[in-house]
């Protein structure tokens, strides 16, 4: 009799446990199903050639969490820097430095890149080594010259912070914070950093009339030089053209005859990729100085001078930077001083002031540490 009773209470306990588990599972699935999708808005001419991973849909809760994490210094080993330190909104998410300073005071090996329209990028970093935002995020978080903290440590620190477990529960259905979820949330926020409000966008939409100088700059930007037919050009659009001012390309743009940084070759192992780097977006280009992967040019004028008269020969120099000139049989681009000013006037049209002031991208922490 006693044993039967014991048996019964064991059954009761087991079924109770089952019920609780099922119920919590149900609640969890309801929570995940109830998450509100974040509506990514962009002009139709930007196109939809992007892939959002099926296991990381963009949701309002996920984006908000990612935004908090983007500005979270606890993600660095010495609690002194966040993603923002190298990606400031006012500078179109760059930091104005040739190289950035990491958590331990050391310098990064390449210049911080602008974070605009990453939704359309398929291979990240200057050398394109990372195939997704989710994958990309772990590099700056853990690199000793950047934030320098293992993801496991970041998950632990966030778990011990009262703010985060409920937010992870809302975004991912569980308050147990995982490394993967940190990367996912950051990626969700980064997908929302869409820049589509420049005067160039308005011009394409027929809502902005460029100045005469800007129009001359636009023509030079788009045209390849053709001295035989009297067409002057800078051929910028060949690699930087299109409505987003971005094409996903990797080229050796003739900075050095012998490159100190092997660029994409480090990742592909192919010698033909030596000193090839991402052709960066020109969106907000006037805000993202200094320029090039090593930030060697402080001004846009120096950049134009480089393409105009200082291209260095090497075996992997881009074919598109060879033998193009506004002079018959010329070796260099040979733009005039006025033409360079016209180009700069056009590049100003690519500045998106609504992007750098959009409150949805700013630091959401109530007290931001100085």
């Amino acid at each position: 009799m006693k044993s039967v009773l014991k048996h019964k209470s064991a059954w009761l306990r087991a079924s109770l446990v089952c019920a609780v588990l099922t119920l919590s599972g149900l609640i969890q699935s309801i929570q995940v199903k109830n998450v509100e999708p974040y509506d990514l808005q962009y002009p139709a001419n930007f196109g939809s050639r992007f892939v959002i991973p099926a296991d990381n849909p963009t949701t309002k809760d996920g984006v908000y969490l990612g935004r908090l994490l983007f500005y979270e210094k606890a993600l660095s080993a010495n609690n002194n820097i966040s993603c923002e330190s190298c990606h400031q909104q006012s500078l179109a998410f760059t930091d104005g430095k040739p190289f950035s300073i990491g958590t331990d005071g050391s310098l990064t090996s390449r210049s911080s890149m602008s974070l605009a329209n990453l939704l359309w990028v398929r291979n990240f970093f200057w050398d394109g080594r990372s195939p997704s935002l989710e994958d990309q995020a772990k590099f700056p978080l853990t690199d000793p010259h950047e934030m320098g903290q293992p993801l496991s440590e970041s998950a632990k620190k966030l778990s011990n912070n009262k703010l985060y477990p409920p937010l992870f529960a809302k975004a991912f259905g569980s308050s147990i914070i995982t490394q993967d979820q940190i990367l996912k949330a950051l990626s969700q926020f980064e997908r929302t950093l869409i820049s589509a409000g420049s005067n160039y966008d308005r011009y394409l939409a027929g809502k902005y009339m460029p100045t005469a100088q800007q129009l001359r700059g636009l023509q030079l930007f788009e045209n390849g030089p053709d001295p035989k037919n009297g067409i002057r050009g800078a051929n910028c659009g060949h690699c930087h053209g299109g409505v987003k001012n971005f094409k996903e390309l990797f080229h050796n743009n003739g900075l050095d005859s012998v490159a100190a940084d092997r660029g994409r070759e480090q990742f592909t192992g192919q010698r033909t990729d030596r000193a090839r780097f991402r052709v960066p977006t020109l969106r907000n280009i006037m805000l993202t100085a200094p320029y090039m992967h090593d930030g060697r040019f402080a001004t846009i004028e120096q950049v134009l001078d480089h393409y105009n008269e200082h291209i260095q020969q090497s075996p992997t120099l881009s074919a598109f930077l060879q033998n193009i000139s506004n002079e018959p049989d010329g070796k260099y681009l040979a733009l005039t001083k006025e033409e360079k000013s016209d180009l700069t006037a056009f590049l100003v049209m690519l500045t998106d002031s609504s992007f750098i002031t959009n409150p949805a991208f700013s630091n959401p922490h109530p007290i931001s540490n100085p």
Binding site: Q270, P315, T316, L317, A319
Partner: protein, 170 residues
Amino acid sequence: MLSPKIFKHSLAATVLLFLSVTFSLFAQNTATLSISGEVATPLELKIADLASFKQLSHKVKDRDGKEHEFSGVALIDILEKAGVTIGSKLRGENLAKYLLISAADGYEVLYSLAEIDPDFTDQVILLATTKDGQALANGEGPFRIIAPNEKKAARWIREVRSMKIGFAKN
């Protein structure tokens, strides 16, 4: 007598030439072309592997406005080797398949399979490896597509590194 300055310059030029020639030979020998996606047999081809295919050439005007003779193998033969659904199998849903060609610099162009198949078109698209008898230069080779009937050369993609067969999914 040569002045030391000129001598120095010509020496530097010789060294640079030597370096770029060895570089180019090295690049030719190691570069591979991958064919993947909706294929029966994924391939990794080196220049030397193309010797077993039927060789052909096209005389066409390139971007420089001059006529050049490009030689290599028919793109369709490569697809056949990889077991792509061409010929009698190019029907039904297979007509929604495409070939996405990617270059070393990230440039991409696309052909539908029917644009390549000789049952559909007289144009023989060439996977070229030489131009006027010389191996294609860095920045152009070692593999380049030549589509002789296309008025615009935008799909004559240079530095071909990979080809992927896919289904249009929409």
